[in-house]
């Protein structure tokens, strides 16, 4: 029997190390695998038995003796028994491409990665020209997973077409949105997939140096990525003359320093160059003048991870998933006040209601769901009337919402939506880079005005003022920080007006101001 207990951040945060220690004490050295992303079951103990790979969860150290007893008798009689891992409905119903390997084994084990089809994409890419790789990415229909959903192939074509001695691949691993952990899960549970995707990107556009800009809030991912890069380099999947191809690609992790705005790609590049993370005006595009002024691909972790799948399985296979112009799979991250939170990888098109009801099984508190925020702190709060919207970039844009990086944060009926609107403005105050006045000053005013509305001071005038402030921020901001902070604010006003002490009719802002 082989025992597995994850070393991913959430499993550790729920006591996985103590479970591992209890197993050791009983003479069973566990494999420290990655997580499946079924966080409601963490720490999830998996056991490879004659009857297949079965699970117990959520497990604490005290449960180990009884689980070991059950294993030598009738495992299914144990109250924490979850049956065969692959048959757990939450997992079995997913369409896992990026997360197919997640949780299978030790994330740093190269043999395990190769056994599970790892480096197939790289092998295929090494047999292609740069242009042929770019064509594959275009054909796949892959759009950037960091939030803006820009077609990856078109960005790569631009960098490919630049004539420069030095080009860069930069992985955006800043994952700042609340409610998101998909990048973290890739980096902690399947880091070679990201390394492989970045190497393929380097081959495609002719870049020999890559940087992963990782947020400092992820110490475990930092440790695992560094270890993975070291092992991949020793095994010649990175560095000079990769697998005898004559091609070179070097990779380094750089830590951010706690600034949300550094997730915006030009701010990120400034930060990588060692400066304040001030957003740059575009043009020039980073693809043409990016890091240190050189042509640079900036892509999210999930975009680059998907590249490994596309090159391994073919563009057509990838683009078969999805709806409309949203191709492939979406990593939905179900979070907040939810009974069964976790990573749900599905083709685009599933509705929000299916996600929170079928997967999530309602709130953690057991109370009714009131609002759902999708797409991070700049995403709108959606009332129940909007939960049947399919998760597709265009469908969400049509209701003034966004998929963003795929974070879904659930609030129960005790949520105070005026407090949430205030927080959206407060967050903008804390995280604005300061370049544009509407964002820097507008958000400060926004907090004050919301306070006055809630206190009942000149409510009508202040409501008009708040909408005008939102208009100014939307129109006068260089990036989505200032430009989209109004989305959560306005959606809270429109759909949850009673929390501001007013009926929602007065609040839609569609009036005559």
């Amino acid at each position: 029997m082989t025992f597995y207990i994850p070393q991913d951040t959430t499993a550790l945060a729920l006591g996985a190390d103590a479970v591992a220690a209890a197993l050791q004490a009983a003479g069973n050295e566990p494999v420290r695998n990655g997580s499946r992303g079924l966080f409601w079951l963490e720490p999830l103990l998996e056991v490879e038995t004659d009857q297949g790979r079965i699970g117990f969860g959520p497990v604490s150290a005290e449960d180990i003796p009884s689980i070991l007893d059950a294993l030598s008798d009738d495992a299914s009689a144990h109250p924490l028994y979850q049956g065969e891992i692959a048959a757990i409905p939450y997992l079995a119903s997913q369409q896992r491409l990026t997360y197919a390997r997640s949780g299978e084994g030790d994330p740093l084990c190269l043999d395990n990665y190769r056994r599970l089809d790892g480096f197939t994409g790289l092998k295929n890419a090494l047999a292609l020209s740069g242009q042929q790789i770019v064509d594959q990415v275009k054909e796949s229909g892959l759009r950037g997973r960091g939030g803006a959903a820009f077609p990856a192939g078109i960005k790569w074509q631009t960098v490919h077409g630049c004539d420069a001695a030095q080009k860069y691949i930069v992985c955006n691993a800043d994952e700042g949105d609340s409610g998101t952990f998909a990048d973290r899960l890739v980096m902690e549970s399947d880091p070679y997939q990201l390394i492989e995707g970045m190497t393929i990107a380097g081959l495609a556009v002719g870049a020999t140096q890559g940087y992963i800009y990782l947020r400092s809030e992820y110490p475990k991912a930092h440790q695992l990525l560094n270890a993975a890069i070291e092992k991949a380099t020793v095994a010649n999947f990175l560095g000079d003359n990769i697998q005898g191809s004559g091609k070179r690609f070097d990779l380094e992790v750089r830590l951010g320093a706690g600034a949300y705005i550094c997730g915006e790609e030009t701010s990120l590049l400034e930060s990588l160059e060692g400066k304040r993370g001030m957003v740059r005006a575009k043009p020039p595009l980073p693809a043409i003048e990016g890091l240190f002024g050189k042509p640079t691909v900036v892509n999210n972790v999930l975009t680059l991870a998907a590249i490994s799948t596309i090159l391994a399985q073919g563009a057509a296979a990838y683009q078969n998933f999805g709806m409309g112009r949203s191709r492939g799979t979406l990593a939905i991250q179900l979070a907040g006040n939810i009974k069964r939170g976790g990573l749900i990888e599905l083709a685009f098109g599933v509705t929000l209601r299916q996600v929170v009801e079928d997967y999530g099984q309602g709130t953690f508190s057991g109370r009714p769901i009131r609002a759902i925020q999708v797409g991070g702190p700049l995403g709108a709060f959606l009332p129940e009337s909007q939960w049947d919207t399919p998760m597709d970039y265009e469908a969400f844009a049509a209701i003034k919402a966004m998929i963003g990086h795929g974070g879904v944060v659930v609030f129960d009926d005790t949520a105070d939506m005026a407090a949430q609107a205030r927080f959206a403005m407060e967050f903008c105050v804390a995280e604005s880079c300061g370049k544009c006045t509407p964002c820097r000053i507008g958000s400060v005013r926004g907090v004050e005005v919301i306070d006055r509305i809630v206190a009942g001071e000149n409510r009508d005038d202040n409501l008009i003022l708040l909408h005008e402030l939102c208009d100014t921020m939307e129109m006068g901001s260089l990036c989505a920080m200032g430009g989209m902070t109004p989305f959560p604010v306005r959606s809270a006003l429109t759909h949850f007006g009673q929390d501001f002490g007013t009926s929602s009719q007065d609040l839609s802002g569609s009036g005559d101001h």
Binding site: T9, T10, L12, A13, L14, F39, W40, E42, E175, G176, D177, S178, G179, T180, F181, R184, S216, E217, Y218, P219, K220, R254, L255, G256, A257, G258, A259, Y260, S271, L272, E273, G274, K275, R276, G277, F292, Q333, L334, A335, G336, N337, I338, G341, G342, F364, Q373, P377, G407, V409, V410, F411, D412, A415, A419, Q420, F423, F427, A430, E431
Partner: protein, 162 residues
């Protein structure tokens, strides 16, 4: 973390060594500041001219970078760092009550250190543990589903700080 009791001479020595070590790295500033902070616990004012000289920048530019990022501290901090997640997923699970409880228990506000120098309390915006909120980070360990009672337990493991 922070040793705190180095003489200014030793501090300067440590900073100079790190500047020498990092200065030729492309985009050396952030890795260097992280390294200084890992060694000293904060980035002392006296480090600024040394960094400026090593990286061929003005002191104002170095100050500008340090002040831009929430991570970099310019004053000594406590032996332990305790960060409470203030972001939305944690809010939906009661982080507002948790932060009020933490401040009352420790007798400090955010960015302050307990009187015994043991704990510095900080806000953080998401630790990527949003499916099992509320989340806190103590030094490099993240903790999930932290109720006020659990918070007290975790704090008591850090030694006295009231």
């Amino acid at each position: 973390m922070g040793v705190g009791r180095l003489s200014s001479h030793q501090t300067q020595g440590a900073v100079s060594t790190l500047v020498e070590q990092y200065k030729d790295l492309p985009g050396a500033m952030l890795p260097l500041l992280h390294a200084i902070q890992a060694e000293l616990g904060y980035v002392p004012d006296s480090a600024v001219p040394v960094i400026a000289k090593g990286l061929n920048l003005s002191r104002a530019e170095v100050h500008g970078v340090i002040s831009f990022y929430h991570d970099f501290k310019t004053h000594p901090v406590g032996k332990h760092s305790v960060q409470i997640c203030r972001a939305e997923a944690c809010q939906s699970m009661g982080s507002r009550q948790l932060e009020a409880h933490a401040k009352a228990l420790l007798g400090v506000d955010y960015h302050e250190t307990t009187a015994d120098g043991n704990i510095t309390l900080e806000p953080v915006y998401c630790l990527g543990n949003c499916a099992c909120s509320p989340s806190i980070r103590i030094d490099d360990d993240i903790h999930a589903r932290v109720s006020p009672e659990r918070f007290e337990q975790l704090i008591s493991q850090l030694g006295v700080s009231k």
